[in-house]
Symmetry: C2
Subunit: 402 residues, 2 copies
């Protein structure tokens, strides 16, 4: 789906930066930030030993990061030791914040995450956006963004960027929603509708969900396939810790992998696509239910109550998912498959037939399938964290903007 | 399939090298080599302006590369010009050479390619290797390698490394053939059977074929799916100019994407896999022919002669390829699909139904499908060039070994 510039540009600690003294300095600033972020609080000496630079070189970098408000000194550590006491460094809780937003079919949400990864402000508005024209929906989102940014500023933070998760395909400009069938939006330029004083990046919600899983999930592998669903089936391919975007930004369309080539026509132009068997509406139809507001809640509730029609519909959806995933696993050889979003809530009834189909069709050991613990929060958190990661990846870039 | 260390380690100009002064020097040596290789002959000043370093810095790097025998000076250029004449630099035709080898089902081949990309020596032996035990086959290959290395040395070259293409899955150690069904080899350590004085890397032939297409094909995109066939169907996924290996090195198993989930059993454990419809043996069976030595030649000859059974069998194989590729294209969003290896020779009869199926099942503009011009030479050339690329990616590394 799409490359939000925050996530796509640096691709690891400042990898795209020019290979000059200046570029090296920027990359090393990024190394210091990542090291303190993942292992801090740490002394300057500990940072130096971890990244393989001299203490003097690290001190210069650290001083610059403290001046920019990205690192903080927590005061002398182990004061009883001989020699000059080292001061423990931590990532700042008062510097830049990542603003994440989500335009869901049934809700709007915005949150602010600080460099430490903590959610510091949040606002949600429930109500359907399906068939709503973009202008009022985005206007409402802009008001939520303002509220969250104000709250964050009251806590001493400032917005380093806004990333917006949408349920649709986003162009590589990371502004334009090419199509979001469940909102009925086409070629919608969110950049024009959502003016901000800070960088904006729009991305597909399945992609942000996968990034959240990569960054926040426990024991998530660096090569995995993340499968989620709101109404359609979305997937994201993560290879060596990086999201695979595709040429047009449309990679991850697992929902349109043919499962039965002579099956029912699909809106995509194909036949027998996975979405015709495992999309929420297909499952509701197969279970003899009407699509309402809380479709996943309805299915999960009925399945938990032992409704045999619902259980059978979910079992068959699991089989179709297993067939489509067999192809994807054979093509990509991921370390694992993670079910996220709405699929996570239905996992108890989808997983047995899905795993059986996948195991039955695989020669060697089957690819393990796990269930996300982030659930429906994934895309929103992934969006906010993509901004935070961009700051860690190029701290000099954000300091210049501040 | 697998990561030959040559191709996998540097992944672009020395990207994995440490970010120190020393690492920067090595990366800049690589930049100079790549620039002269792709755009040379060039003067020092032209190299400096292209890579954005000072002329003095470039001269130091160039002198080191000349001393290592990786660059050559062609003598003064444009002697009529005012000022000190610049000497044009070219990649050396007398330095390191990449040795490529292929263990095919029906042949063994070895070649030596110099840094300029020219094939300088080659040896081929025809005869089936199917069911042959690894020892004699690899022994014969070793003799061909020695002959080619001797010939290359007689021309002033020296072997920088050997890359071997095999029709099977290779472990991430880039030595062990996990399984090559058409040779009937399992867990075969080629490193032990093929001792050399220079680095050895074993890789899957479809992967090397895709790399050849990437490096040598005309107008090949940087994101593409390369589909080839000897007896099975192999594919390789290239993303942003890099081969996707998968967790175990098994990515690209397009042949085992389910096309019809209730179709015939496949040796892989699945049912209705693409190989059951479009593998050479399936096509021969569908056309009522016996598998012989030159299967592709037989099919192509009969199809060209107007044999309706063969044409129908190839048309149906094309349809199955189109269905499997629809799923792959939806998942990966590549810029194009390239048919290589044996499939290239059958393209006139496969392509119409393949392209029609792909276009019919895709909502937007269909992913373009093209035919490789390298044909069956691809894997051998890709193997040799993978060694050459490794030298360009880290010239300091090879100079240390020389």
């Amino acid at each position: 789906m799409t490359a939000p510039p925050h996530e796509a540009r640096p691709a690891g600690p400042g990898r795209a930066l020019p290979d000059t003294q200046q570029g090296m300095r920027r990359r090393n600033l990024s190394r210091v930030m990542h090291t303190v972020s993942s292992e801090g609080p740490l002394s300057r000496a500990a940072v130096a030993s971890r990244i393989g630079l001299t203490r003097a070189a690290v001190s210069t970098l650290v001083d610059e990061l403290i001046r920019s408000g990205l690192l903080e000194e927590l005061g002398p550590e182990r004061p009883g030791r001989v020699g000059r006491p080292g001061s423990a460094l931590a990532v700042s809780g008062h510097g830049p914040a990542g603003i994440g937003a989500e335009i869901g079919v049934d809700h709007l949400a915005v949150c602010a995450v600080d460099l430490r990864g903590e959610v510091r402000a949040k606002a949600v508005r429930y109500g359907t956006n399906r068939g709503r024209s973009p202008q009022p929906a985005v206007g409402e989102l802009a008001a939520l963004v303002r509220r969250v940014v104000d709250e964050a500023e009251a806590e001493g933070l400032w917005a380093a960027g806004l990333a917006v998760a949408v349920p649709g395909l986003v162009a590589r400009d990371a502004r334009t929603v090419v199509r979001a069938p469940n909102l009925d939006w086409h070629d919608t330029d969110l950049g024009a509708l959502l003016p901000t004083d800070f960088p904006l990046a729009v991305g597909n919600e399945a992609n942000f969900g996968a990034l959240a899983e990569l960054w926040l999930g426990e024991g998530t592998p660096r090569d995995f396939l993340h499968v989620s669903a709101e109404i359609g089936i979305g997937a994201a391919v993560v290879v060596d810790g990086r999201l695979l975007h595709g040429t047009r930004g449309f990679a991850g369309e697992l929902g349109h992998v043919p499962v039965r080539p002579d099956g029912p026509d699909c809106a995509c132009g194909g036949r027998g696509c996975l979405e015709q068997y495992a999309g929420e509406e297909a499952v509701l139809r197969a279970a003899g239910l009407e699509p309402g507001e809380d479709r996943v809640g309805l299915l999960a509730g009925r399945a938990a109550d032992g409704d045999e029609d619902v259980r059978r519909a979910l079992r068959e959806a699991g089989e179709a998912l297993g067939i489509a995933l067999t192809g994807a696993v054979n093509l990509l050889d991921p370390e694992g498959v993670v079910l996220g979003g709405a699929l996570a809530g239905l996992a108890p009834w989808l997983l047995p037939s899905l795993s059986e189909e996948l195991a039955r069709r695989t020669a060697g050991p089957a690819c393990p399938v796990s269930v996300s613990r982030l659930g429906p929060e994934g895309p929103l958190l992934g969006a906010a964290h993509s901004v935070v990661r961009a700051v860690l990846d190029d701290p000099a870039g954000v300091a210049e903007r501040a």
